[in-house]
Symmetry: D2
Subunit: 456 residues, 4 copies
């Protein structure tokens, strides 16, 4: 039998994947595990209480942890190998950290590994000029600033991003922006220093994939205002929050464009892959923590309907088994996507990423919903973290594109392979004729051989 | 062809049920429809804004409508025929009003038809002494007071109500209450004047169904305090709200007991039937309103992913059909339960009520969830009423007993009918032998004839 | 409390529907019940054994029962009121018979109430000339002949019947038919005397709904041959069976056209409504019988995994409850469709029929599948009737149009109501403005009021 | 980017797993692929036609292929490394062959890799004496004989194997067997030379896991007879078939016991692991082939309801995507189980095997059912292999134990981990108190910290 690395932090990682982790990764994963177990979960209500006092600022407890994390070399773990600041984790390895961090909504923030920072930093690192990196990326990496990504709009179907209509017009050395955006971290939070905004700079371009550009908009640009806080299932998502924004003749210098005019889709494609995997792994962390609550409730000696523990009802035994198997199957889907990106790149990994993006939020939301039900009257209240965990999973079903959009992409790609399947089946037919002749048996003209009709 | 009453207020009621509505009911249903369409839905955000100003009091807008409703003879519609104040609606007829009222969470309150008032009024009417009715029920009927029902506890599995442990001990002319309760409308609301509390008065009684009593506890009874607001999926459910309460040596006069010591289960059984049907019909109203939002979004000309309306994607056409069929099937389930109670009483209707209680919240929550998804980025925000509607449906999956408890009850009752099925199948076997002999055919000893084993 | 008719034959009919049954119907339903319980279920294996001896003829046992049924006045119960031979049952009332008959696959045949005879008789009665009725319908009514309906084709998507391509060309006093058809009762059965065939007589007609005609083709018409038996999930469906047919220059007299050229769709629409309801009710009968097997197995004292009866596992208790509730909800859907047709006609009932057609086969198949699983190793074998019952339910998901086609029809009809919903919501908006002004509150511009965009 | 082996035979294997395949495995997988594509799929109807001629003998075509396979070194691929005849594949590597072989029901037989031979050979290899191996295993390995495994019984709940009651009694140098068995390959097939039978030899042993023994029963042992063929969903499963057997004073020499009296459970545990994985991989092969039929139908230019290809309906695009993602997720589950067994052994892999056993048959049956529906009228007929493929998947939901039994095992194991979860949460509580004190914040007493109750 093989020797498989073992540690509580690896308990849910299948042996085949554990074997692939570098010693450094194993060490970091263990550190992240201790961090979340000791500094984050037990402090959840402290952070909530601090947020009650000041809703739109990073709570002092988190600020303190960030300093500590920086000192301990746990900052920016998400950064891929080619960065000099990178701790050198593969996407697969970082995914293992990500699940652990996901157990507490704000834990990624303590290691500067939270969305949208991670995506924005990668975007600037990949596509920014040196000057842009220095000015906008460095403060993010150092944890001094926060930023936001602004894509969705209230008045078009932004799930098809070619519809994005927020207007970016060049005037001299400036771009003038007009439009309305949804989501993006809230301006209410003073740490948010700029928006990375996708808008339409060339609406008449014949190629719909070249009409859009990505620009940096400083928070204090005149004409930019937040007109409404947005809640998600009633949650205000403080301290980050979501908003609805109006851009009214907002002017930014031309140097704030990223990569160049018309290149927004190039940028978007590069940005979204790993971010989706991070979301999925974090959701699994939420699902596992919810599952632990269910296990504890199932064995709570104070809760005995009809004289039996919740966990002595074999309907609940089956439910627990189903949750366990579902979470573990979903993890395999995400780890496979992460590994595929490591081995073959984001583009070749597109399908595996979409598979995770579609399956994980639905599956985890279902598991958490089941946990809420097992916890009865208290499962829906603030007595547990389950309502916010469910809401996060539900949100990710829509964020970065609703399920249906991803299913469509996958399905259309699959249909392109139909020709090949048909060709193979025509081969079967030909070979069937050969074999029937050789064996002196009647030829079968069934549908399976594709072209029955020709014989009429 | 028959003449079937027709009016927008009846649009969703199947023709067979429309035929059964009295002219008076048809008139009242139409009035309720106009009321909700004109006074409630368009005022939803006014009520929300008033609640922002004062979270724990009935908003002035609702107060005004209640006065108007009383004057218009629309108050207390839920009251069954045998009351002198009753408008004379059957449960079936009131159910039709209930669906319409359900479209807006607070609309039932405008007609004094909201939970838990309806259940508490019925309880007092059915089981209270004349003195209790005069003192506690009349102000409820007049809409002057509000009340609460207090059953669930944090520290036992209250889904099996025999576990309820809040102690009611007689001392002289008083009962002394000690324990902890969850839910029940919040004390924060000044209108709440008393709690109807179920507790354990005789823990050593050999019959577990006679250990509990139901008493009236005035809000200002010393020793009663609310220790925590409870949120449901993050919503505070203002102005009613939920709380966690401690009863510490709370003393009430013995005259506050309802029906007598040990009779709480008798009372509980009578109370819960119609209330469950009301919940279900209100949920259907929420589902229908959500469905309208989906229809509007599906035909919104501003939202065209890949150049097609949302409603031109035939995946969405199928989703809309599924939602339509699901809502209509669930309505049949509830109307059937209502009619069964009208025809045969609450006890004979127990199964049909349970069927509605299990199927409707799950089904409506699923429909609303689908609507949220169809609305994309905005479906989860406060831009629509969908998040609160989903939360209400999700809540009812647990309120008045979680699904599983009702399924258990139904399943156990069904298993009692197995003996009869077995008997019938033994009859088949006997008859099979006769027929086989008569037709000179071999006897078949398959499982279907139940007793194959005997033949070995 | 009302007096509700009671009898084992009505056990599953909800009280509200029982009240609507005429005394005559109640009497007939009871007779059908006794018939199925005593003459059919116990003889299932006798019929199967007779079929083993002669696969493609009506088994002698069934023939004998048909004679007996005719004498007892139980023949042709399905016939609606306006026939002189009709027993006078409403569609609702006959539906109650239909569920009982459905318990055994061949029981409807014993009362001449089986598909496709019922549909063909109705079709001829409704659209046939007196001469056609005399020649083709009377022998069906008398139970002397059998017939078939031929619509589906292997080489087009016949779920959209405008695609039907089998060519009907007039030549002098004859129609010449060329094409290929699937399904339709098998020619192997000598009782089948003619096909009612839908084909394309005017492919160039501008109106696609007027291109097709319906004609009668005698079984011995030269050029008509069956090229293949078709099995359904491996079952040969004897003695009726399914086949694939080639029509090669088949000639029939022009008098064999029904209603006239180009009127096939008019006919098809009238034919399919009640037939779908019959299928659905029969499926419920199968589901109920399967359910009884599950109850019996759940209480079988020889089957005790881990020392408990199958029915003592509360996971199975919940499964039994779910099956019970599902079957009962589906019955409400079918009864409502039947009643809607009675009250408002087939056209107004179109939606309710589609609802039953989509929901019932899926739901019943699921229930039977669950029963098979509860019966473990034997549930999939011929030891019970479950495999054939499941197969029938699965088949109906496709017969008379696959689910998706019906969902599409429903969904498209629903989308036509979107304009009305939008109008209503615009009314809300207007009223909201009035109320906000009256109450001196801010106007809310959220999505709910449809036109937020106008305000930009 | 890494170099990942590429070949059509590896098309569905994720890159991370491809990297792990040895060059020898890659070569063998490619050979198996060519074998199935060229010799098996195109010959499916030839084999079926030969079976029509002689239902209970191995068809000549298969016999010929077996000779060819032996010569080509493709026989007994399933054999693990430690056999001298083993081709040296890991379980993971053989799994890849297994999926390909699964595309045609009888293909595994051509390579002597079919159930129950594989399990029986492994059992004899692992637990047989040298003499037993020589006498019973060698002819199996050489492909001269066939065998059967006999465990299930009609009259007990054999899903809990401690219930197995078939009596094995020692008398002198013989065991006398009395009882009744279900399944096991059919005696009708002359190739079946012996049964490996599990029976009860010591019913009074205090340890229920030591009451049973496993013995070899030659087919011609007097007293053994098959009393009934058994069909699975109507299929006779020729040429192997299933039967019901009576053992009436069947006598075998004591040397036919395997491993010794009372050791049947030891043997059973070792036997079932890999077999379940083989079933699951074969099912995936069936699912993939079904999926190809769906793709072909979706792009069939003759099938255009409403003027669009089936695959142009975006509801079907989504269905195709869902099927693709489901199959791929299930494959990850099986590959992970295979790899876990390779790395850590069958016992440590117990959970992963159960996960595959529960999830795969349900998931693949669902996919095939969807394919049948997409193929409309023909999907249920013998025009495609879909009905038999669905039936195989449905069968595996029960074979080797029904879902629920496996879920129970998993759930009970999981509940044993609850104590650890509780301990961890108590740790959170303690740490929360520390942190609250350090940060001068109030302690939170919510359920999450497990012991709220203690504080009352």
């Amino acid at each position: 039998m093989a020797t498989i690395p073992d540690h509580p932090s690896l308990a849910r990682i299948p042996p085949g994947y554990r074997q692939k982790l570098s010693p450094k990764a194993i060490e970091l994963i263990a550190k992240v595990y201790d961090w979340v177990e000791n500094e984050c979960i037990p402090a959840d209500h402290i952070v909530k209480a601090q947020l009650e006092q000041n809703r739109w600022a990073m709570p002092p407890y988190i600020r303190a942890l960030r300093e500590k994390a920086k000192a301990a070399g746990l900052f920016n773990l998400f950064l891929p190998n080619h960065f000099k600041e990178s701790p050198g984790l593969t996407i697969l390895e970082y995914s293992c950290c990500c699940e652990i961090l996901g157990r507490v909504y704000w834990a990624p923030m303590t290691l500067n590994c939270h969305a949208p920072e991670t995506g924005n930093i990668e975007l600037l690192a990949k596509y920014g000029t040196e000057k842009q990196k220095e000015k906008w990326m460095k403060p993010l990496l150092d944890g001094e600033w926060s930023s936001a990504y602004s894509m969705t709009e209230p008045d078009v179907a932004a799930s098809d991003a070619t519809n994005i209509s927020c207007r970016i017009r060049r005037e001299g050395n400036e771009y003038v922006i007009n439009g309305r955006k949804l989501y993006g971290n809230s301006l209410a939070n003073e740490d948010v220093k700029f928006y990375i905004l996708m808008g339409c700079s060339d609406p008449d371009n014949a190629d719909p994939w070249k009409r859009h550009s990505t620009v940096i908009v400083p928070r204090d640009a005149p004409g930019l205002k937040m007109v409404r806080y947005m809640t998600i299932m009633g949650f205000d998502c403080a301290p980050e929050g979501h908003g609805e924004y109006v851009y009214e003749n907002v002017r930014i210098p031309v140097e704030n464009i990223i990569l160049g005019e018309g290149r927004a889709f190039e940028i978007a494609q590069g940005r979204l892959g790993p971010g989706r995997i991070h979301h999925c792994m974090r959701l699994l962390g939420q699902g596992e923590r919810a599952y632990e609550h269910a296990l504890i409730r199932a064995t709570d000696t104070r809760k005995k309907p009809r004289g039996k523990l919740i966990g002595e009802f074999d309907s609940n035994i089956e439910r627990i088994a189903d949750m366990r198997m579902e979470l573990d199957a979903l993890r395999l889907v995400v780890l496979n996507a992460a590994e595929t990106m490591d081995l073959m790149g984001n583009v070749a990994g597109r399908y595996a990423i979409a598979q995770a993006k579609v399956m994980v939020p639905i599956g985890v939301a279902k598991v958490i919903d089941e946990c809420m039900q097992l916890l009865g009257g208290q499962g829906l209240t603030q007595h547990t973290f389950l309502p916010e965990a469910w809401t996060y999973a539900r949100f990710v079903r829509i964020a970065d594109g609703p399920d249906a959009a991803h299913r469509h992409q996958v399905g259309r790609d699959q249909l392109k392979t139909a020709a090949q399947a048909r060709l193979k089946h025509l081969g079967y037919k030909k070979r069937h004729h050969q074999l029937a002749k050789a064996w002196d048996m009647p030829v079968t003209e069934l549908f399976e051989y594709v072209e029955r009709i020709e014989k009429l």
